[in-house]
Symmetry: C2
Subunit: 256 residues, 2 copies
């Protein structure tokens, strides 16, 4: 697969069933997004949850009821087919992993696209701030914290964070850089002593993989889009559809 | 009335029926807000309209369904009683101007608090950027433009703007200052030749009052919260409640 594909080309390949792999590295420079699809009856609660928790849940686009086209971030795209892989949940349980969701789509569905950290990681690397999990070719380590999101209707969740180890100087630079990405989790939520935010063992992440923290480095924590997944698990909606982890929707928006 | 009252004191006086006047100048330094109350059935569409149009409609707080307490910006307050004056609309028509809305309140109501320009006007004055309508003791002039808001469900509206005349140097300074107030309409949406945004006669505003534009000054336009009122008028909801113009809700948030 050619990594210099455009967003339109990746989406068309997904639609044709010819692209089923994780999206990091594809359509470089374009914003990738988390997907959450819910019935209209839960859409207000979920949009309010996102509004109240903009760092883990920065909303890039929301579709009109029943319409699978994200008109603001990717006119012409179809969210039922244009991601490489989906997870379908019923009452909070994963019931299917599929490459399109046409058979599950309903007239009362609303789709939410939520920013993701890929957007700022490219900017960090471009500024010579190291991103360890990419260097180690691993998934970023993610942790449930003892920080509660602000709940909204049926949705509540602990804040889930991702961690990147940095020297103090790079940490400061990373705050500067990520402050320019409010739609991709923005600045870190915490840095330093991880026990203060309820992380007992930094080497045992709740999601993703452990990575090396070198001498002189401190862990730096960003709010993470996986927070939406834990909120869905707790709310147990009748039905919900998300992207499969790492298999994001690629928008026409340029990062930064 | 003492202008150095705290937000809590102003709200209590409203609740007791002893404060019924416009709020500019009261509880100086605290954020004042527009109020929009709608049935839950329209809450998703309205929140999405605000999300898609954050300059005219910056959301400060949204209540849980049926709950009149804005827990984020003013814990303990009661939006049914704590504003000096309300407008009640049925099917888009004003049917009552009242000093509390207890008799109209329903279990399915959701209240939205939207930022207002008072927040940044104090900052302009503190930076010696003149605010003409305050100097002239008038209401700010407001205009319907030919710019369309992004619609959401039943809500659509032309963008309504407020205008402050400034020298080019002060206009640049005003952009710098208001960029720090994203929850109070943020930076201007336009400056200069007003015919380009559909304003035929700058001396005949659609709302508020005309003010002097002096030689060497250009009109500078900010998105305005009255946009929510025009959106409500077009959507004609069964019932809606707003603050009466100028009679805002005073939050516990500090401006800026």
């Amino acid at each position: 697969m050619n990594p210099s594909l455009t967003p339109q080309e990746v989406r068309l390949l997904c639609r044709q069933g010819e692209f089923k792999s994780p999206t990091p590295g594809f359509a470089s420079g374009y914003t990738q997004a988390n997907l959450v699809v819910l019935p209209k009856s839960l859409a207000f609660d979920f949009l309010l949850f996102c509004h109240r928790n903009p760092k883990p849940c920065p909303v890039l686009d929301v579709t009109e009821v029943g319409d699978p086209e994200p008109r603001i971030v990717a006119p012409g795209a179809d969210l039922r087919t244009d991601l490489p892989r989906y997870h379908v949940f019923k009452h909070g349980e994963l019931v299917a992993e599929v490459t399109d969701v046409k058979e599950f789509w309903r007239d009362d569905f609303v789709a939410f696209l939520i920013g993701c950290s890929f957007s700022f990681e490219s900017a960090l690397i471009n500024a010579d701030v190291p991103v360890r999990h990419i260097e180690e070719n691993k998934n970023v380590p993610m942790y449930k914290t003892n920080i509660s999101c602000v709940s909204a209707g049926v949705f509540s969740s602990p804040l889930v964070v991702s961690m990147r180890p940095l020297t103090p100087g790079d940490a400061i630079r990373a705050v500067e850089i990520t402050s320019r990405f409010p739609k991709a989790h923005g600045t870190p939520v915490y840095l330093g002593d991880s026990s203060q935010i309820g992380i007992d063992d930094i080497n045992s992440p709740d999601f993703g993989e452990a990575i090396a923290i070198r001498e002189g480095e401190i862990p730096v924590f960003w709010a993470c889009g996986v927070t939406t997944q834990t909120a869905l698990k707790q709310a147990k909606p009748e039905i919900a559809i998300t992207h499969a982890p790492g298999h994001m929707f690629i928008t026409d928006m340029v990062d930064g």
